[in-house]
């Protein structure tokens, strides 16, 4: 029987929303306070959902120690206490939480092989959240 397992993680990072293809005025108009040249930060909560059959020997979709270890090394370790704009994946991409969501999905999709990746969901603040499911049908 297929079960979907969601684990929630936290990291803190700074970013600045700014597009080189827009003028200074357009950037200010588009991104508002998020265009502050000195940047600003958030506590990002990331929810990672994986799925699969429940293993009869362990009762698990995926051993949490494996998921936690992999995510801490490859996701949290990469982003926690960093300035997102200085990371190569955001050299030419605005580090909005939409783009961050897609990037974290790609990292997991490429490297984490112990369960099927369903979705990445990020809360940028208590008021905003973003989800990316790749080619998977959206979960309710």
């Amino acid at each position: 029987m297929r079960v979907h397992l969601t684990r929630r993680y936290l990291f803190a990072a700074s970013h600045r929303l700014h597009s080189d293809s827009l003028s200074e005025e357009e950037n200010r108009a588009t991104y508002g306070k998020c265009n502050n040249p000195h940047g600003h930060g958030h506590n990002y909560f990331v929810e990672i959902t994986v799925s699969g059959p429940v293993d009869a020997q362990t009762g698990m979709v995926c051993n949490l120690a494996d998921l936690d270890g992999w995510v801490r090394e490859n996701v949290i370790g990469r982003y926690d206490h960093q300035d997102l704009n200085h990371l190569p994946e955001f050299a030419n991409t605005v580090p909005t939480t939409e783009n961050l969501c897609v990037e974290i999905y790609r990292i997991l999709h490429r490297g984490f092989k112990k369960a099927h990746l369903d979705r990445v969901r990020i809360e940028e603040t208590m008021m905003n959240s973003f989800e990316y499911s790749g080619e998977n049908p959206a979960l309710r």
Binding site: M1, V3, H4, L5, R8, T58, G59, M60, A65, L139
Partner: protein, 139 residues
């Protein structure tokens, strides 16, 4: 116009459990299950979310009578699991390891056959605020 609406009811139960597979050696149990293998068990405040779906009834405006759903959740799940040691007191977990995944499946199996007023859509079980399992009745 279709008026399919999803309704979720939440409840809490507190139980203890441990992860142990008698087919594994002691070392293997420790390696696979880590701290969760402590033979004396440990506990959680579990949060159960039951989502049902259905058309909105034209007379009552309900998908389901919440009182009925609440009573069913109590009778089939909460009264049985709350303040219990899952491995020792709940028949399903005499043989099944009471992981969050399996608890979600067992809650579904206890509720689905008794739920007549609406269709069960999802059972979500939170073990902690940072970990939950969803079961949609998928094979």
């Amino acid at each position: 116009m279709s008026s399919l609406v999803y309704l979720t009811r939440k409840a809490e139960f507190s139980s203890s459990h441990l992860y142990h597979n008698p087919a594994f050696s002691a070392e293997e149990n420790k390696r696979v299950f880590g701290k969760c293998n402590n033979p004396h068990g440990h506990g959680h405040n579990y949060v159960l979310e039951v989502t049902v779906k259905g058309e909105v009834d034209a007379t009552t405006g309900f998908v389901v009578d919440l009182k009925q759903l609440k009573d069913l959740m109590h009778k089939e799940v909460l009264d049985a699991l709350d303040h219990r040691f899952l491995n020792k007191e709940i028949p399903e977990f005499f043989t099944l390891i009471p992981t969050t995944e399996n608890i979600a499946i067992v809650c579904w199996q206890r509720l689905a056959p008794k739920l007549t007023a609406a269709r069960l859509h999802r059972v979500r079980v939170y073990e902690t605020p940072d970990l939950f399992a969803d079961f949609y009745g998928e094979a």
